[in-house]
Symmetry: C2
Subunit: 403 residues, 2 copies
């Protein structure tokens, strides 16, 4: 076995055993692009080694999707194939697991299409089924596969080996004992979440170039990190993960914020995103590129213009250490503090899962079929936690974690 084959095999095993934490007898669904086939095949092998009963790999093809967006009738743009919904629903019923592969081989493939059509071409029912599944019903993970197209986006040349080095470092595949390294990393992040939970801040205050933002926190929301617990199984939903995150109060967000890293979404890269919030709602959305896509995206449903997640990342993460812009949210959001429009982290608020969406929304826990993170962190961003009595406690300064 070549060193490259060995690396790929170990990475697949890490994704299956630490990321998904696949249990014997589980069905594993894998979502990949066709360009991810070498990795998907290794994942299938690793999954059967771990006792999978069946592995279902669904390969997406962006060129087929492009043809749909370019040519489908207006009222068919958002068509959700019922069998794709059924796949997620059945996976929930049988207690299956899910692994998504990121690393988009052509992240700007739709950038020359009509932005409004791109924004409307969302499979809403599929997205909702996927969210139902990831809200504690199934053990899942996202990992990225270095490929030529992605490397070209990052380096302006298809230097896949250089991208592999960054990815291997970020997911701790370069550690002597990656599993032990993950155990230690999880503990460190969970300690950070515990420190935040102890403080019970009323809100966060962000200040930096182009940013002056207040995000209200829930009195009952808990900060989380690294390890999720779904269907009775501990799993690492993002590899890498460097964030502590929670569900904010979707009614109490005010001010303006400027993104610090590009956002890859629906075949477009949204650059220089600026959003202004009033009473929790994004009332102004501007961007250097991809503005139409982003505006349409934020108009998907009522909750798409409100925050569902707030996450803090310091300037010294394993992803940040690479010094790269990845144009891939899984990576960029783990190098930078970020916030997400749309669906909340349901498990962060104990009572949220038991309530109907409308009831949750009334209590400030958002509901939406989108969940779109964008990066707002930098070494120039100051983040304070503010207590109910108005005391401001520095959390992030110059990229350093101070709490």
């Amino acid at each position: 076995m070549s060193a490259a084959e060995d690396r790929l095999r170990k990475y697949a095993q890490l994704a299956v055993n630490v990321g998904v934490n696949l249990q014997p007898g589980q069905v594993l669904a894998v979502n990949a692009y066709i360009e991810h086939a070498p990795f998907a095949r290794e994942i299938a092998r690793a999954a059967y080694e771990a006792g999978a009963s069946f592995v279902d790999v669904q390969y997406a093809d962006q060129h087929v999707r492009r043809a749909h967006i370019a040519s489908a009738a207006e009222d068919q743009l958002g068509y959700s194939p019922p069998w794709a919904v059924e796949r997620y629903d059945e996976l929930g019923r049988i207690g299956g697991a899910l692994l998504a592969i990121s690393g988009n081989p052509e992240p700007e493939l739709f950038s020359d299409l009509d932005g409004e059509r791109v924004g409307k071409a969302r499979m809403k029912e599929v997205a909702e089924a996927s969210l139902r599944l990831s809200d504690g019903v199934c053990n899942w993970s996202i990992v990225a596969y270095p490929n030529e197209g992605w490397a070209r986006t990052v380096f302006d040349e298809p230097d896949v080996e250089r991208l592999w080095d960054a990815v291997a470092h970020a997911v701790r595949l370069d550690a002597d004992d990656p599993v032990a390294a993950w155990r230690e990393h999880i503990s460190r992040l969970q300690a950070r979440a515990a420190a935040l939970n102890e403080r019970r801040f009323d809100h966060l205050r962000y200040r930096g170039p182009g940013t002056d933002l207040m995000i209200g926190l829930h009195p009952e929301s808990a900060w989380q990190a690294a390890l999720d617990h779904s269907n009775g199984i501990d799993h690492v939903a993002n590899m890498p993960t460097e964030e502590v995150f929670t569900t904010p109060d979707s009614r109490r967000v005010d001010g303006y914020v400027r993104s610090t890293l590009p956002l890859q979404i629906q075949g477009n890269i949204v650059r220089d995103l600026e959003v202004r919030f009033e009473g929790g709602r994004a009332v102004e959305v501007k961007a250097g590129t991809g503005e139409d896509v982003m505006r349409t995206h934020v108009a998907t449903d009522e909750g798409a213009a409100r925050l569902g997640e707030v996450a803090l990342v310091d300037g010294h993460s394993a992803v940040g250490e690479t010094g790269l812009v990845f144009y891939d949210t899984l990576y960029d959001e783990n190098a930078s503090s970020h916030i997400a429009l749309g669906a909340p982290i349901l498990q962060a608020v104990e009572w949220a899962g038991a309530l109907a969406p409308e009831e949750r929304v009334e209590r400030g826990v958002n509901h939406s079929s989108i969940h779109t993170d964008f990066m707002i962190g930098s070494n120039e961003l100051e983040v304070d936690g503010v207590t109910a009595s108005g005391d401001a406690v520095p959390i992030l300064r110059a990229g350093d974690w101070l709490l």
Copy 2:
């Protein structure tokens, strides 16, 4: 546009407009291998041009399947994902269309695995749903895409251009007006079917090296050719197609038969297949390679050991003219007379579709979740039609059609 791009585009248009005969507003499901992506993308474009409401391409990956066969628990080998069944069922409900792409890039990928496990690893419920759909419910077609792996199998070298020449000739893409050429070709084959229907033979008699076989025909079965009529739409289910075919009496098949071309099935190539029939049942199955796979396959269900189709092809077909062995049933069966184990051509017997499977079987129309053609024709094979009164009428001699 390069000549190769132009050829691919025209081929996709032929498949969509003549093969499937896609109607505006239809959903088109496409089944492909990931190695077929360039063609699947052109098909998607051609389908939207023709007014498709949505195109769903499902890419199969044989390496993922191989991992399943190699490692899944015995009782999970035949697992059918319910969402794959739902895809076909929903397609039937909404009046969708189906296009399958053949041209296996690695036709012997499972040949080193346990043949019995390979034979058992069939998605029975998916196969049954697929048969429900192709039995007159949806307009469908199969076309092949020349690719490196397939070319290597045919020529012992990846000469894709040479394979393209053969394929373009077989599907009449090299005609000045391919659509007109197809119209003419369909008429010629239908005249042949009409001539057979006029004769109302009681049975067919096959004699050749290793073959002495009697196949009973139904008094009420009709010979068909080239054009199917499903869901109110005329479509060409196989491109190429060179056969006239019907459903035999599954109770009246006796004698022995030797295959004249290899049969690619489930990651194996079955060579030198010999089958002996008694009272309609295959009671002996031998093969030079792939015997275990074939034996297990024939034991899939009660009807898998009986015939569902009999088809006649002369020695001068456009496929036969290439002089090649394709190791792909779509091609090889259109260069050679063949018979199929398993599911019948339901539309060939007027009353069959209205009966429950058990009732049909009682009347000699087979039922099975498999439908597996194998090639028995050659220039040495003599085929007679025998009337109820015992008169033998030569149909095929030295590859020539005599009727």
